[in-house]
Amino acid sequence: MGLREWRNRIAEEAKQGLDRPSPYGMDIDVGSYVGEESGYRLDTESVERVGVDLKAKALYLQVDQAYFKYISRIPGVEIYRLEDYIESYPDEAKEYVWRLLRPSMDKYVAVAALRGMGGYFIRVKKNTRVEDPIMACLFISSHGLQAPHNVVIVEDGAEATVYTGCTIAPEVVGLHIGLSEFYVGRNAKLRFVMVHSWNRVAHVRPRTAVNVSENGEYISYYANLSNLKSLQMYPRVYLGSGAHAYLASIVLGVGDADIDIGSGAVLEDGDSGVEIVSRNIARDSSRIVMRASIVGRGGRGHIDCRGLMLSNSSVIATIPELHAESPDAILTHEASIGRLAEDEIYYLMSKGFTRDEAIGILVRGFVSIDIKGIPDKVRSYIETIERLTTEKAM
């Protein structure tokens, strides 16, 4: 199939999904965001606030659907804008693009397929071990739609960290639909850190699917640091034989945010494993639904969802799902929702902390997740995220 024909097929399939709402989260009228794009402006301060280093050795930067910059000074790491990759390697691209996500999945994916632009293609070549994080920034500066399509391939035996920061200019009414298809090769390792910092009128609908081959490892750490109007995402990870994943999310609900977020995993056999960890803090009148699902055809999976209520008018719900398709699957979950324990606050006050300091210590503890086996640099990013989350939660 030629490239043009392939694109037409994707478009035709996408059109079938245009009226299909997501089964989860607040429904929004995507039509009002299409065609509103105007001039762009990069706000470097906002970008740095989500931890992106614009001087990184390997970087992808996208502003709205208008400005794209990419560079890799790391041997063994390729970065392209997705369209440029497809043009350069059309036959190979068809093996990776639109293979894990369906264009008709829902109306957000459909719109992204039809009207989206940009997104990064990152390839870490076979057996390449990358110390420095590969940075990506997706910034919305003007009203309208931003729908990048990202593809990451970590080839067999390779190892890398991709750090993505997504943010928006204040008061800009934007819809972000980030499509992501990740491929982790045999014995390869991908650590994916994504930090969101939106504004009170932004809608966010990421769609992510990850395929982890035999004995591969995928570690995902997602954090939402600030207010937004609505967020819905439910990434899926498919784990091959002996593959493992650790999926962590830290979500802060502020203002009247409507958040429906989860992680799902499919375990192929008895040697695969997944741990899904979710920490959610609801402030003001925010609403958070925490979802998690594991389908086990074998293997071990565990879900750990915790919600912290910091106001009387917020709402948190947890919906963990375990599906065993084999008696060999060992699947467990634990979930809890509550407020900070007064006794713990008093305890810390008895150690000389003010009430606010005590609450800060406990909130910081709540969002702290001990991820084993991550490089110090990634750990320092995560510690910064934990600190920022705590500050924003207070």
Binding site: K351, G352, R355
Partner: protein, 241 residues
């Protein structure tokens, strides 16, 4: 004891305390002098923990009558925050688990305020291997107690209030804890400390200068350390009858 003439480090006069609708302490009086290592002894459930919590100003303990003076100042109705800032510190019998809070982070936060050295404290209390663990999670009785005492050492208080340092603790840990209590006496501006115990096992390592016996929410008897030997011989009730 007439409070207007109290020149002790701490004076407690006819203190009656309620928790909810229940009276947990009744007419409790005693004082802590300079250089006093005061052991408050009594059987379980007699109000010892309630007394320490009242002294530190822990929320939920309401003083119905009586007064508490520390360094000559009436702190009866002062907030816990204020009392701690004045130099009081409490070692809780059972500290809570603090999810996600590492021991080292909590000690660092206290030491930033007081100028103490976490490494030094960790050496003294033999808790180096626990520093990166979540506070209180999966600790043995001895480990929990040593961590808790470590937080008090880090606070460098003028007067430490220690609740049951020897309950649920192995023999080796008791020796380490006793050493830390001696350090707390050294750190104290007044070389004083209050220790609550129902077994007095800690007395093998640190000898009190003063002993008070509590029964049924009241202090029944105070005197020198000879009371301790009488307790071992005749029991609490035999001594305080």
């Amino acid at each position: 004891m007439a409070l207007h003439s109290c020149s002790s480090v701490m004076c407690v006069d006819k203190l009656t305390v309620g928790v909810g609708s229940k009276t947990v302490l009744k007419d409790v009086s005693f004082s802590v002098d300079r250089g006093s290592i005061l052991f408050l002894l009594g059987p379980n459930g007699t109000g010892k923990t309630s007394l320490l919590r009242t002294l530190i100003g822990y929320p939920g303990y309401s003083v119905v009558s009586g007064r508490i003076l520390f360094e000559g100042e009436d702190i009866t109705h002062s907030s816990m925050e204020y009392r701690v800032s004045k130099g009081l510190a409490i070692s809780h019998q059972i500290p809570p688990k603090l999810t996600g809070v590492r021991v080292v982070d909590l000690l660092n936060s206290i030491c930033r305020r007081t100028g103490c050295s976490v490494d030094e404290i960790a050496d003294e209390l033999e808790i180096g291997y626990l520093l990166n663990r979540e506070f209180g999670k999966g600790f043995s009785g001895g480990e929990l107690k040593r961590i808790e005492i470590a937080t008090v050492v880090a606070q460098r208080p003028k007067l430490a209030l220690i609740d049951e340092p020897d309950s649920g603790v192995d023999v080796d840990s008791i020796a380490v804890i006793a050493k830390a209590l001696k350090k707390l006496v050294d750190l104290s501006t007044y070389k004083s400390i209050i220790v609550i115990t129902h077994s007095a096992a800690i007395a093998k390592h640190i000898r009190p200068t003063h002993v008070c016996i509590m029964l049924s929410g009241s202090v029944r008897l105070c005197g020198d350390d000879s009371i301790l030997d009488e307790v071992f011989n005749y029991g609490f009730k035999g001594v305080a009858k």
